[in-house]
């Protein structure tokens, strides 16, 4: 692979962000790390990414809102959710329902 795959990482916990970024970089990815949803959307508009890793609990705008906004523009880029909650039931359902609607 001549060009590194690019990942957008959104996580508000500093230490977790550092550790995840370090691991992904050691795996050979180019990581752009941001700490809140608004910045994430701004960066997403400016650059191209191969994968987005999103935390659910974010300041000001939660991960689902970020995901929805991204999906309105781009239906292809894979989005991965990071969450501390094991019981993901309701928001996950909500997300699926919304994403199905967004996909059409």
């Amino acid at each position: 692979m001549s060009q590194k795959l690019r990942i957008l990482l959104v996580e508000d916990e500093d230490h977790l962000l550092d550790a995840i970024k370090l691991n992904l970089e050691l795996e050979g990815y180019k990581v752009h790390a941001v700490k809140d949803g608004k910045t994430a959307l701004k960066v997403f508009k400016e650059e191209r990414f191969n994968l987005i890793v999103l935390d659910v609990m974010l300041p000001e705008m939660d991960g689902f809102q970020v995901c929805e906004t991204i999906r309105l523009e781009n239906a292809e880029v894979p989005i991965m959710f990071l969450t501390a909650k094991k019981h993901f039931g309701r928001p996950c359902f909500r997300f699926e329902k919304r994403s199905r609607r967004l996909f059409g």
Binding site: L16, D18, A19, L22, V56, M57, P59, D62, A84, K85
Partner: protein
């Protein structure tokens, strides 16, 4: 919850309709006893209304409590799991990868800070529980309050330096206080930590400690978003937190100000919240 409220109101309505229909029936049969029936009916109606009102109040309170508990559960998941996840990932990274010394040290330092955060959280939770159960005895002793405030301000200054917040402290030296040193240090820490948490980076926070007419005053002034008048009364409730849990800007559990209120009550001290101008809040503690 919704179901029980509907059943409760349906029962209330049913009782009311029954009362009126039986009343009219009896009046029709014995028109001479009209006054007695009306009198008894209105007493019954009055009692029913009072009962209904109190039940309604307690149902509402229950609902609020449940919501706060839910909030607490959400924030506690975040507060406990995030540092744990960070510690786990950091240590796994060190074990798995061949890192240079500097990187290892930085990961370990991060983990240590996370462990301190967890320690603080557990301490707060234990203190709150003990205060609630009345099992905390508040051992009283005379100590130098100025020194305590200065020490806490210094410690938090170091912690917040990453965000470039500046804590300005104006402390009148050698103010003595009789009280529980541990609980009061938790009060001061919580107040200053809140100011740091809810301020923007580079904002300054002012901490004033002085004595006026024999009363010790401690005020913490921040330039954060401030607290709306409606919420000023609520922030001291257990588990209450400003705003929605999923898009929370600041971290926390909703226990801090509950501890502050309870401890200060025990020390016969007052706390007031005011608006800081042009923006922000002022927390003012007055010891009697």
């Amino acid at each position: 919850m919704k179901k029980s409220i509907i059943i409760f109101y349906a029962l209330l309505l049913y009782a009311l309709i029954q009362l009126i229909s039986w009343g009219t029936l009896v009046v029709r049969l014995q028109p001479s006893r009209m006054t007695m029936i009306m009198g008894e009916g209105s007493v019954f109606l009055f009692l029913l209304c009072i009962g209904g009102y109190f039940l309604h109040q307690s149902l509402k309170r229950e609902d609020k409590l449940r919501e706060q508990q839910q909030n607490f559960l959400m924030s506690i998941t975040h507060e406990l799991k995030s540092p744990l996840a960070a510690i786990k990932l950091s240590i796994q990274t060190i074990v798995k990868r061949d890192l240079d010394k500097a990187r290892q040290v930085s990961l370990l330092n991060n983990s240590l800070k996370d462990i301190e955060r967890l320690d603080d959280l557990v301490e707060n939770m234990l203190l709150a529980t003990k205060i609630e159960n009345r099992s905390y005895s508040f051992p009283k002793e005379a100590f130098n309050f100025s020194e305590l405030v200065a020490k806490i301000t210094d410690r938090l200054q170091v912690h917040s330096c990453g965000c470039e917040q500046i804590i300005n402290a104006k402390i009148q030296p050698n103010l003595q206080l009789v009280g529980d040193k541990f609980a009061l240090s938790s009060v001061v820490t919580n107040l200053i930590e809140n100011a740091v948490k809810y301020s923007n980076p580079c904002d300054e926070i002012n901490v004033h400690l002085n004595e006026v007419d024999g009363h010790i005053h401690l005020s913490v002034l921040d330039k954060g978003p401030g607290i709306s008048d409606a919420e000023k009364m609520l922030i001291f409730d257990k588990f209450y937190r400003v705003g929605n849990e999923n898009v929370r800007k600041a971290k926390g559990t909703g226990l801090g100000l509950f501890i502050v209120k309870e401890v200060l009550q025990y020390h016969d001290a007052d706390i007031t919240v005011k608006d800081n101008l042009p923006q922000g809040s002022i927390f003012e503690v007055t010891f009697s």
